[in-house]
C-alpha cells in the first residue's frame, strides 16, 4: 500500500511537471515581441530547402523593417495526414501548401480564407498589384463566388517528353499533328524501341492526355461541358473520338507490361531509352533527375493537334499548382498571407527556377537561363502557347474518380472497354455522383471560346 502511495505521488509530480513545461512553452510565445508564422509545406519532389531559404530571407527583411518575425516552416511527405486533424481541432498552421487535401470541402465548410485582399496589394519586387502578375488562368482553379481561395506557386502543364539525342540519332522530329505522332510511334517501334512508356499503375496519368485530346478534338466547348458537368458531356461524339484516339495509341504503342509499371518504373524505362516517349507533367525532369543518365537530353512538346479537330492546338492542358492556402482558424492569418505574397513574388521566382526547377506562375517570373534545358524546353512550349485550360471533375468527384474514371480508363487503355462504353460509364457515374446532396460543385466560369480563336 505504501509503495502504491509513492507511485501515485510520483505520477502526480510528473504530471504537474509536464503541465508546467507546457505552460512555460505556451507563455513563451506570448511574452516575447517575436511574431511566429507557421508554414506547412508538402515535402515531395521539390523538397523544402528552397522554401526554408525564402523563410530565412523573409525573416531578415522583416528584421530590417524593425519586425521580429520567425517563420516556423516545416515539411512532411504525409502533410495531409498531419493537417487534417489540426484543421478539425481548429489549430491549423498559418499557411499550408496544399497536397492531397480536399480543398473544396474546406472552402465549402468556411475553413479557408480568401486571398483577394492581399492579391490586390502591391507585389513584392515589382510594380502593380500582386494579382496582375499571375499568368492568365493561374488563379482560376480555386476561384468561387469571385473570391480566390488558393494561390499557386508553380505552373504545371501536360507534355510529351522525349530524348533529343535519341531523336537526332534516328532523324525523328517532334510531331505537330496526331497523325504524325502515330507515324512517329510506328517509326520508333520499327527500331525495336518501345514508342511509349506509361505509368500504368496510375491510370489517372492518361486522364490528362485524354483531356488534352478532348480539347484538340472538341475544343474548349467540350472542356466547358465537362467542367459544367452537363448531362451527356462525355457521350459527345468529340469526346468519344478523343477516347478512341487514346485507346488506339495505348493498344498500338504502349510498352509491353506498361500497365503493371509504377510511375518511377515507367519513367526509368524512358530515361534509359527502353521507351522513346512518355506523357507527363513538368515535374518529370525533377523527379527523374537522379536517375537520368548523362547525355540524355530530355525535351518536351505539347499534345499534337488532331486533324479535323475543333480545338486550338496552341492551348495547353495546364494550370497553377503547388497551391498555398490560409486556413480560417489560423492564429495569424495575416502573417500567412504576407509570407505567401513574399514567397510567390518576382523577387523569389528566379531562385525557385534555379534551385528546384519550378516554373513560376508569374508573368516572366522565371528567367530562361535559370532553368535546366528540359525545363527551358517546357518554357518554350508555354511561351508558344496561347493559354491554358484545365478540367476539374476529377478533383470534385472523388468517388467517381476512384471508382469510375480511373478503373474505366485502365480498361479503355487495355482495350476491354470501347470508347463509347467508357464515355457512357463516365456520364452515368457523373449523373450518379451528382445525386449526392453533399457534393460541392463550385460555380464555374466557362472558357471564352472566342478569346482563344475557337468556335462552338
Amino acid at each position: 500500500m505504501k509503495i502504491m502511495c509513492q507511485y501515485v505521488v510520483a505520477l502526480c509530480c510528473a504530471a504537474a511537471l509536464l503541465s508546467g513545461c507546457d505552460a512555460v512553452r505556451r507563455s513563451g510565445g506570448d511574452a516575447s515581441e517575436e511574431v511566429k508564422v507557421e508554414v506547412a509545406v508538402f515535402e515531395g519532389g521539390y523538397g523544402v530547402h528552397w522554401h526554408m531559404g525564402v523563410a530565412r530571407r523573409y525573416e531578415q527583411e522583416m528584421a530590417a523593417q524593425g519586425r521580429t518575425v520567425r517563420v516556423d516552416l516545416w515539411g512532411d511527405p504525409r502533410l495531409s495526414e498531419k493537417i487534417k486533424p489540426r484543421v478539425l481541432r481548429g489549430d491549423p498552421p498559418d499557411l499550408v501548401l496544399m497536397h492531397d487535401l480536399p480543398l473544396w470541402l474546406l472552402i465549402a465548410a468556411g475553413k479557408v480564407l480568401p486571398f483577394d485582399d492581399v492579391l490586390d496589394q502591391p507585389a513584392v519586387g515589382a510594380d502593380g498589384r500582386w494579382r496582375d502578375l499571375f499568368m492568365p488562368g493561374m488563379l482560376a482553379t480555386y476561384r468561387a463566388d469571385d473570391r480566390t481561395f488558393a494561390v499557386p506557386s508553380a505552373v504545371q502543364a501536360w507534355a510529351c517528353w522525349y530524348d533529343a539525342r535519341l531523336f537526332r540519332r534516328h532523324g525523328w522530329t517532334p510531331p505537330a499533328t496526331w497523325a504524325q505522332f502515330m507515324a512517329l510511334c510506328d517509326s520508333i517501334q520499327a527500331t525495336g524501341i518501345a514508342p511509349l512508356a506509361f505509368q500504368g499503375k496510375y491510370p489517372g496519368y492518361a486522364w490528362f492526355t485524354f483531356i488534352s485530346l478532348v480539347q484538340r478534338c472538341g475544343g474548349l466547348a467540350a472542356i466547358n461541358r465537362i467542367n459544367l458537368m452537363e448531362e451527356g458531356a462525355f457521350r459527345h461524339p468529340d469526346v468519344v473520338w478523343a477516347a478512341s484516339l487514346l485507346q488506339d495509341m495505348a493498344r498500338q504503342h504502349f510498352q509491353r507490361g506498361a500497365m503493371a509499371m509504377t510511375h518511377t518504373e515507367s519513367q526509368l524505362q524512358f530515361v534509359n531509352n527502353q521507351a522513346a516517349l512518355i506523357f507527363c507533367g513538368l515535374w518529370l525532369h525533377n523527379e527523374m533527375k537522379a536517375s537520368t543518365p548523362p547525355g540524355f537530353e530530355m525535351r518536351c512538346f505539347t499534345v499534337p493537334a488532331v486533324e479535323g479537330g475543333k480545338g486550338n492546338p496552341r492551348l495547353i492542358n495546364g494550370a497553377g499548382s503547388e497551391f498555398f492556402f490560409v486556413p480560417a482558424d489560423a492564429r495569424r492569418p495575416e502573417e500567412g498571407f504576407a509570407f505567401a505574397r513574399y514567397m510567390i513574388s518576382p523577387r523569389n521566382a528566379p531562385e525557385m527556377g534555379r534551385a528546384i526547377g519550378v516554373l513560376s506562375p508569374l508573368h516572366g517570373g522565371t528567367p530562361r537561363e535559370a532553368l535546366d534545358p528540359p525545363l527551358q524546353s517546357a518554357m518554350d512550349m508555354i511561351d508558344q502557347a496561347e493559354g491554358f485550360f484545365y478540367e476539374r471533375t476529377f478533383e470534385l468527384l472523388l468517388e467517381w474518380t476512384n471508382q469510375v474514371m480511373q478503373p474505366g480508363l485502365a480498361a479503355l487503355l487495355r482495350g476491354e472497354l470501347t470508347p463509347e462504353a467508357y464515355c457512357a460509364a463516365l456520364d452515368r457515374g457523373m449523373a450518379e455522383a451528382k445525386k449526392n446532396p453533399d457534393l460541392i460543385i463550385p460555380v464555374y466560369t466557362p472558357f471564352d471560346l472566342t478569346q482563344f480563336g475557337e468556335t462552338s
Binding site: 500504368g200 499503375k201 480511373q406 478503373p407 487495355r414 453533399d438
Partner: protein
C-alpha cells in the same frame, strides 16, 4: 475482509492501466466508428444522421463492398487452403525427422519475421515487368528455350504484367503462401511434437502406413490447434491490407480491393467517413462471427486415445 479488500484494490491497480488503454484506444473508437457509420460525414464539416443508409448502400448491387468481400473470400479460400495444406505437409515431414529438419524449420519460418510491407516490396521486384523482374526474366529464358526446341510455348506475351490490377489477386497467392506457411507449420509442428510417440509405434506394429498414421493419429490429435490456425487464417484474410496497399501504390481498383483497402480509401481518399465506418463495422461483425464459429467448432468433443 480487510485482506480481501486490499487484494481487490491490488488487482484493480494492475488492471486499470490496461483497462484505461483498452477503453481509450479500442472501445471508445469502436463506439465512435459505430456512430459514424450511421452518419454522413466528410471528416471535416458537420455530420448528418442518415440511419442505416450507409449499410443499405453496402449491399446495393454493384457496390464495391460485396466485390471487396468476394476478394477477401477468394484469398481465404485459395491462399488459405494452400497455406493449411502445405503447412500440414511440411510439419508432418519435419515431425518424421527428415534430414536437415532444423534448417528447413528456420528457412520456412524466416519469411514470417519480415514485415508485410517489406514482403510486398520484395515481390514487387520479383514480379516487375521491367528488367529487374526475376520471374519475367525466368519466364523469358524458359520461353526462349522452348522456342529453340521448336515449341511455341508458353504463349503469353512477356513481360507478363503480374502487378496489373486484373492479375494482382492471383499474384498475391504465392506471396501469401510463402510468407505465411512457416508460421502455421511451426504451429502444427508444436502440436505434433506433443503427440506421444507410443501411438505411432503401436500403429506401426498394427501395420499402419505413414499416411494412415497421419490421418488416424496426427490429424485428430492436432484438431484443436488446427482450428486455432483456421481462426488465425480467417482473421488474417479479412484484415488483409498492407501488400495490396503497397502493390497497388495506394490506389487499389475494383479488381483488387479488399475490405480494409476499401475502408481506407473511402475514409481517407474520398472523405466518406460514414460509408468507411460502415465497412469497418461489417468487418468487425465478420471477424467476430468467424471467431465465434471457430471457437464453437473447437469445443467439439476432444479426441483421446
Amino acid at each position: 475482509m480487510n485482506r480481501d479488500y486490499g487484494r481487490s484494490i491490488f488487482i484493480a491497480v494492475f488492471l486499470a492501466p490496461a483497462l484505461v488503454l483498452f477503453t481509450a484506444f479500442v472501445a471508445l473508437p469502436g463506439v465512435r466508428a459505430l456512430l459514424y457509420s450511421l452518419q454522413r460525414w466528410d471528416g471535416l464539416t458537420e455530420a448528418r444522421w442518415v440511419g442505416l443508409d450507409n449499410f443499405a448502400r453496402l449491399f446495393r448491387e454493384g457496390d464495391l463492398f460485396l466485390i471487396a468481400l468476394g476478394h477477401n473470400l477468394f484469398l481465404l479460400a485459395v491462399a488459405g487452403s494452400l497455406i493449411l495444406v502445405l503447412a500440414l505437409a511440411f510439419a508432418a515431414m519435419l515431425h518424421r525427422r527428415i534430414r536437415g529438419a532444423g534448417l528447413f524449420r528456420v528457412a520456412f519460418f524466416f519469411p514470417n519475421v519480415i514485415a508485410a510491407v517489406a514482403v510486398a516490396l520484395l515481390w514487387i521486384l520479383l514480379y516487375s515487368a521491367t528488367d529487374f523482374g526475376v520471374i519475367n526474366a525466368a519466364l523469358g529464358a524458359f520461353q526462349r528455350m522452348c522456342h529453340s526446341f521448336g515449341w511455341d510455348w508458353p504463349r503469353v506475351p512477356l513481360p507478363f504484367p503480374f502487378l496489373d490490377s486484373r492479375y494482382l489477386l492471383y499474384s498475391l497467392i504465392p506471396m501469401m503462401v510463402w510468407s505465411a506457411v512457416g508460421f502455421y507449420m511451426v504451429l502444427f509442428l508444436a502440436a505434433m511434437e506433443g503427440i506421444p510417440e507410443e501411438y505411432y509405434e503401436a500403429a506401426k506394429i498394427d501395420g499402419a502406413t505413414p499416411l494412415q498414421q497421419f490421418r488416424h493419429i496426427t490429424l485428430p490429435l492436432i484438431r484443436e490447434v488446427f482450428t486455432v490456425g483456421v481462426v488465425f487464417l480467417v482473421i488474417t484474410s479479412l484484415k488483409f491490407f498492407d501488400p495490396i496497399w503497397v502493390m497497388e501504390n495506394q490506389r487499389p481498383t475494383r479488381d483488387s480491393h479488399v475490405l480494409t483497402t476499401l475502408l481506407y480509401q473511402k475514409v481517407f481518399t474520398e472523405y466518406n467517413v460514414g460509408y468507411g465506418s460502415a465497412v469497418a463495422v461489417m468487418l468487425f461483425l465478420l471477424v467476430f462471427c468467424a471467431t465465434l464459429i471457430s471457437l464453437k467448432l473447437s469445443r467439439a468433443e476432444r479426441v483421446e486415445y
